[in-house]
């Protein structure tokens, strides 16, 4: 009766989860049907079971399940039916309908309701009818899946009824598969079993594969059919796996894009290696944390918008920090990129320590707003809302930046300085101002990346460290001074990383990728999409 119990628990669970769909009749009516169970005689009991099932009440499966387990007794004094539990020599009585305790009764005062195989079949069909034929499709689907897992032979007759009545196609196929599963476990003729395997194979899910793997080593036609079906499902699942990895890769690529895009600007326009770029990301993440804490304590009703509010905060904080670094340190080192690299490394050490002093060395928790949590499935691909939003956000930032570069005055001046600094200065562009603003823009975008990363990574003083080498790889791979190169580079590296992972493991995959990039740089020292012309020649 394992599957009955499963169904009963399931029905109760679903009833608890979805009160709107639960069917309930008055307690007194249900009680009168329950009392009929204890009248005596198997015929009467069978009729009582049918009557109970006919009420459609969601408490019925549990009651019937307990009846099947022999847990129901009649109190001799008034004929009332209770669920009992042994308590020493006596029995503890519980009302079946209300679940209220009804005191203790000595052994002599109660009598067990007898159950034979006929009654058990009646119970099985009644519970099955209640769940497998429930008006709620999600209850029916869950019931079919539960039978599939338990593979109980006793469920076959009920399933046949349910299949005949089912109108929703995929629930019907789930029921067929469940029936096939049960059939395979029984001693049915081989031809039926082969047909069952075909029915399971139609399902194509991971559960079906797991079930079939129990039969692939079987002899004769059943084994052959199971092996064939398993192979078909495996190749189908492999395709979905590729899809899933592609999705993970795009997700990683979007994170890389966010982290690298600011670097691409500062590196591209100013030829400056900003080793503190990762710390700008970290500042953005901490700005998000601070903004969210302020919202939590002062305007909790705005919590769902906290990330939107944090965007400008993070952008401005990081941009300000970037402009300060540019004015105080970097501008003295133009034309000496190696020194800039060392100085900004020093800045990054100080920023890390400063954040550690201010916020402590432990990870900080940044909350998920409701609209970002949860997941949904596309076929067999799991898609979390967080990842989806980050991909969209990365693309939005990317195109906004392209817009700034192509359509604004600042963008025009930035491009001019990238292409030829001296000539730009000669035609009157204030290159120092452009430098400062460029650096602010690049840092601000890193701050935006921090907002996104605060949702998927630990907000700690070391947050930036983890991304700096990857970001450099993206920029160098994509080609300096070309944002499209950064986009292609980030997505390529992200997807390649996730595609390698299942075969080589996470660490080895990353090593392979790093070595590949080192070799790639030898072939194309200026990256995938290199700027051409005299300005970039050494």
């Amino acid at each position: 009766m394992a599957f009955l119990r499963l169904l009963a628990i399931l029905a109760a669970l679903i009833a608890g989860l979805q009160p709107a769909l639960a069917v309930r009749i008055a307690d007194a009516d249900l009680s009168s049907h329950v009392v009929a169970l204890g009248v005596g005689g198997f015929d009467a009991a069978e009729k009582a079971i049918a009557d109970l099932a006919a009420t459609g009440d969601d408490r019925v499966p549990t009651i019937l399940d307990r009846l099947g387990n022999g847990e129901l007794m009649v109190r001799k004094a008034d004929g009332a039916v209770f669920a009992v539990e042994k308590a020493g020599l006596d029995f503890r009585l519980t009302d079946l309908v209300t679940g209220v305790g009804a005191g203790l009764a000595p052994k002599a005062a109660v009598e067990k309701i007898k159950v034979n195989n006929r009654i058990r079949r009646a119970i099985a069909s009644a519970v099955g009818a209640l769940t497998l034929m429930s008006p709620d499709p999600s209850v029916r689907r869950a019931a079919a899946e539960a039978v599939m897992k338990s593979a109980d032979v006793a469920a076959i007759p009920v399933l046949d009824q349910a299949i005949a009545a089912e109108t929703v196609a995929d629930i019907r196929s789930a029921m067929l598969a469940a029936r096939a599963t049960a059939l395979l476990a029984s001693d049915a003729p081989e031809a039926d079993k082969v047909a069952s395997i075909a029915a399971i194979a139609d399902l194509g899910s991971r559960d079906a594969l797991g079930f079939l793997s129990g039969y692939t080593s079987a002899e004769g036609a059943v084994g052959a059919a199971a092996r064939k079906a398993a192979a078909v499902i495996e190749s189908r699942l492999m395709l979905w796996d590729v899809g899933q990895n592609l999705w993970y890769g795009l997700s990683l690529g979007s994170v890389l894009l966010l982290a690298a895009i600011g670097l691409a600007i500062t590196f591209g326009v100013m030829g400056v290696i900003n080793m503190a770029h990762g710390e700008m990301v970290m500042i953005g993440a901490y700005a998000t944390f601070t903004a969210q804490e302020a919202i939590r304590s002062s305007w909790p009703e705005l919590f769902d918008y906290s990330l939107l509010i944090a965007l400008p905060v993070a952008f401005l904080t990081a941009a300000l920090a970037g402009i300060l670094i540019e004015r105080l340190v970097i501008r003295w080192l133009y034309g000496r990129p190696l020194e800039t690299l060392l100085a900004t490394w020093g800045v990054s050490l100080m920023l890390q320590q400063a954040v550690r002093s201010l916020y402590g060395a432990n990870n900080r928790e940044v909350g998920n707003p409701a609209w970002m949590s949860g997941a949904f499935a596309v076929g067999d691909i799991q898609v979390t809302w967080t990842r989806l939003w980050i991909i969209l956000f990365a693309l939005a930032v990317f195109f906004a930046l392209i817009g700034v570069l192509k359509r604004t005055r600042l963008g025009l001046e930035m491009r001019a300085v990238t292409q030829n600094r001296q000539m730009a200065a000669a035609v009157g562009i204030r290159t120092p101002l452009v430098d400062a603003l460029t650096f602010g823009l690049g840092s601000g975008i890193a701050g935006l990346a921090g907002v996104a990363l605060s949702q998927i990574d630990n907000v700690s003083p070391n947050l930036g460290r983890g991304y700096i080498i990857d970001s450099f790889m993206v920029v160098v791979f994509g080609g300096v001074g070309n944002l499209w190169g950064t986009l292609v580079g980030a997505l390529t590296l992200g997807v390649a990383n996730k595609m390698l992972e299942p075969y080589a493991g996470a660490v080895l995959g990353k090593i392979i990728l790093l070595v590949a990039i080192i070799l790639f740089i030898q072939k194309r020292p200026r990256g995938l999409f290199a700027l051409k012309g005299r300005a970039v020649e050494a």
Partner: protein
């Protein structure tokens, strides 16, 4: 003859340094072993080991300076060569443990028994012989540098691009050595050494000998570096640093010069690592951390790049500061180190040695390093 040639290549300052190092190699171990405790001239074993560690750092700094200060190649991955030399030495020391390990396996190091390995991997073969291990200390980093340099210099990867891929190189090695399957002890690295060349590694005599070896090795490295930079080849290196394209147009095969000094420097870093490991008693993947390599660069910058004395002074001074700060004010150390990076690059482009030249002797040499590097990279930018 070669010796006289090498000694002749030293300038006055170089002779002082080499003399000082030889004196250190003799006097400090004597101060540790012969002078009784309590005497002012007594050197404790802790101080001895600490100073020995500083000397290996100084050798690493010298190797960085050779490529950066004289050839304009900023390596952010010299720690990789240092660590590879260290691992080669560590493997020899592991094989010397023999049956004294926890699992008492005569052939396999403890971590391999722990991972249920049955056979010694091929790359561990031969490391029970000291001469082979010492050969590998030079060969492994040297070969890696040769291949990496041959690829990079031939395709003219220069400036920050080269810096970034050296960083990627050491990062890839860091990840690789973290893996248990690699057969280098994974996260824990190699440790719990017992003997070196048949002498117990913890004994005061052995420690003193290791110190003396470090000091002498540093002196030899200094003489070799000095011979290189003062030869005609050294002049070409400086020319490459200051104007790479121009040097190429004159007719020099720039990549050959770079490759030579790059490989030499890597081998030197490997030797430094090999001397470092028996003194600190452990080698683990954290030595591959890109941050460690960048720190080695700042030692050179602080001391004064483009001078041979500078990196020695810088490595000892910065590490002394690190030991002192992390003992007294641990949270201030990162501020201090960060500020050091900024202040030195902004205000002391020629480091302590440059400052000394300017203030004390007053014979400020033409600031060829700073300007030169600026010109060279200015062209690239």
């Amino acid at each position: 003859m070669i010796t006289t040639f090498l000694i002749d290549s030293l300038d006055r300052r170089g002779r002082i340094v080499v003399g000082l190092l030889v004196a250190l190699a003799l006097l400090v171990p004597a101060g540790n072993l012969l002078v009784p405790e309590g005497n002012v001239f007594h050197v404790s074993t802790y101080q001895l080991t600490l100073c020995g560690k500083y000397l290996t750092y100084a050798l690493l700094a010298l190797s960085v300076d050779l490529v950066w200060g004289y050839c304009g190649i900023l390596s952010l991955g010299h720690g990789a060569f240092f660590a590879l030399g260290g691992y080669a030495m560590g493997m020899y020391l592991m094989r010397q443990i023999g049956t004294r390990g926890v699992y008492a396996d005569p052939l396999l190091p403890d971590f391999m028994v722990f991972l249920n390995w049955k056979e010694l991997p091929w790359f561990w073969q031969g490391f029970d012989m000291a001469w082979y291990a010492l050969l590998m200390v030079v060969l492994v980093p040297g070969l890696l540098a040769l291949v990496f340099g041959w690829l990079s210099f031939r395709s003219r990867v220069t400036g920050v691009y080269l810096s970034i891929i050296t960083q990627a190189l050491t990062y890839a090695l860091l990840l690789a050595f973290f893996r248990n399957d690699m057969g280098f002890g994974g996260n824990n690295g190699l440790t719990d050494f017992k003997d070196i060349l048949g002498y117990p590694i913890q004994a005061p005599g052995t420690r003193a000998a290791l110190f003396a070896a470090s000091a002498l090795m540093l002196a030899i490295g200094f003489v070799i570096a000095s011979a290189v930079v003062r030869s005609k080849l050294g002049k070409v290196l400086v020319a490459i640093r200051d104007a790479e394209s121009r040097t190429r147009f004159i007719g020099y095969r720039v990549e050959h010069y770079k490759l030579f000094v790059w490989t030499l420097s890597a081998a030197m870093a490997g030797i430094a690592g090999a001397l470092y490991v028996p003194q600190v008693g452990i080698i683990n993947p954290s030595e591959f951390d890109p941050a460690a390599s960048i720190e080695a660069v700042i030692w050179v910058a602080v001391g004064g790049r483009g001078t041979l004395v500078g990196p020695l002074i810088g490595a000892v001074a910065v590490n002394f500061g690190k030991t002192w700060f992390t003992g007294v004010l641990p949270e201030v150390w990162l501020y201090a180190l960060g500020a050091l990076f900024v202040v030195v690059t902004l205000f002391l482009p020629r480091g302590i040695v440059g400052l000394w030249d300017k203030l004390v002797t007053g014979r400020a040499k033409p600031a060829v390093e700073a300007n030169g590097a600026g010109r060279q990279t200015g062209e690239a930018a």
